[in-house]
Amino acid sequence: MSILNEVEIANPQHPHCATMLLLDTSGSMEGDKIRQLNEGLNFFKEDIMQDDLARKRVDLAIITFGEGVNVVQNFASVENTPEMNLAADGLTPMGYALNTAMDLIEQRKNEYKTKGVDYYRPWIFMITDGEPTDMKPGDPMWESVVSRIHEGESSKKFLFFAVGVEPANMQTLKDLSPQSRPPLKLKKDRFREMFSWLSKSTKKTSASKVGDTVPLDNPTGPEGWGEVETG
């Protein structure tokens, strides 16, 4: 028997791919939109679960903002994600939700560092059909949230994606988003396609190796789910 059989592994854990979903569940999402959001989320979970590598590597957190800001799931394996049946109610405390999301990402990265876990750059993926009701351009909360997002993106703390669902205020989303990644507007009834893209992108990232810049499918093509608002 070879002496190589005696080898033990220094760090027997998969690299982690932290994905933060930040979901608007305000009253205006009621009806078809919240139903499609729930269906999309459940599809996303199933799709990740079917991918061997992504299942072990994706760390999913879900925060909703509507009737308060609610951490539905802090970062955990997708296996632990409950069946989604979110209800729409309340205002749009987006600023507080964004701060919570960025706090949880910082916290999670510290846990990775302490445990010596390799990790990919976390994603914040925000979906909203409105505009924030807890901050507005020019006030201190707005300034601090916007600069935190822009600084976080430019110093590679995370990647920020914003998606507006009709009738979202796209200008507000544009001001919040890093210049390099303008918000996308969801085409009507394309929630499932959007989550399919998200799942595919997450799977690609979680299977990437050191050195890879993951090329993502363009979500704004004719068959895509989103469009960039110009002007």
Binding site: S2, I3, L4, N5, E6, V7, E8, I9, A10, N11, P12, Q13, H14, P15, L53, K113, T114, G116, V117, D118, Y119, Y120, R121, K156, T205, A207, S208, K209, V210, G211, D212, T213, V214, P215
Partner: protein
């Protein structure tokens, strides 16, 4: 110069990771090594998965690195040669080779993006330089030393390859290390197995390297050794947490009994 001891030797293997097998992609890791007189030359490269010709890039890089160093060693100028500069020259030779190939074939240089580890040893002293990740670990008097380690950024999938415009500022030249007995040079596919990662950085993992270096020292047949090393890198134990291509090159130096 006649030596009365066993010559130093080098052997190694690059294997295709499970993900690339599944996707029918070629191995994007490459290694090349040679003993030239009393010198050992090793180059190990990991082509980036996101670019189309990284398998060619890694292969060209290791061959150019070793052959450039060999040419220098076989034709030492009258005013001497500072061998500590050779690993850096190996990196430069690899970069130049990739630049030339890109022009010849009308490719983008970045389409052949690869990391590169370049190692030279002379008797019991090791010199190394690297761009990108992977590592060089030596055994010195029973202790393990990380000569050169992963230069990757915070995230698991971001690294500077030799084809980057910033490669010269991101490369690392290790301090020479003497009285070494064995050395291992490996790509990031082996990193989670071989290196402990803590808040303070990376440390060679004894329970990985002690058996691996014993295996290297006890190997009598290099062909069989390479075969066994390939099987080891393909084994469930090593691939469980890394689906990536893997390269591990081992060398036993002409050490302390060289006098």
């Amino acid at each position: 110069m006649a030596l009365s001891i066993l010559s130093p030797y080098i052997f190694g293997a690059s294997i295709t990771g499970s993900l690339h097998i599944k996707e029918d992609l070629p191995c994007q890791d490459a290694c090349h090594y040679e003993i030239v007189d009393e010198f050992g030359l090793i180059a190990v490269a990991d082509g980036l998965g996101s670019v189309p010709f990284s398998d060619i890039g890694s292969r060209l890089a290791v061959e150019a690195a070793v052959s450039s160093a060999k040419n220098l060693l076989l034709d030492i100028p009258d005013d001497g040669l500072d061998i500590s500069e050779i690993p850096l020259k190996m990196l430069h030779a690899a970069r130049e080779c990739l630049e030339n190939r890109a022009i010849e074939d009308g490719l983008k240089l970045t389409d052949m993006a690869t990391t590169l580890l370049a190692v030279l040893f002379f008797r019991d002293t090791i010199y190394a330089a690297q761009i990108g990740d992977g590592a060089v670990v030596a055994k010195v008097g029973g202790e393990l030393v990380l000569i050169s380690g992963p230069l990757n950024s915070e995230y698991a999938n971001e690294v500077t390859p030799i084809t980057s415009s910033t490669w010269q500022s991101d490369l690392y030249i290790a301090e020479a290390l003497s009285i070494a007995e064995c050395v291992a040079v490996f790509t990031d596919g082996c990193q989670r197995a071989a290196l402990l990662k803590t808040m303070d950085g990376y440390t060679p993992f004894e329970k990985f390297f002690n058996p691996v270096f014993s295996f290297a020292s006890e190997t009598a047949d290099l062909i069989a050794g390479e075969q066994e090393l390939s099987e080891f890198l393909l084994s469930e134990k090593i691939s469980e947490y890394s689906e990536d291509d893997k390269t591990l090159v081992l060398a036993v130096l002409q050490g302390l009994n060289n006098d």
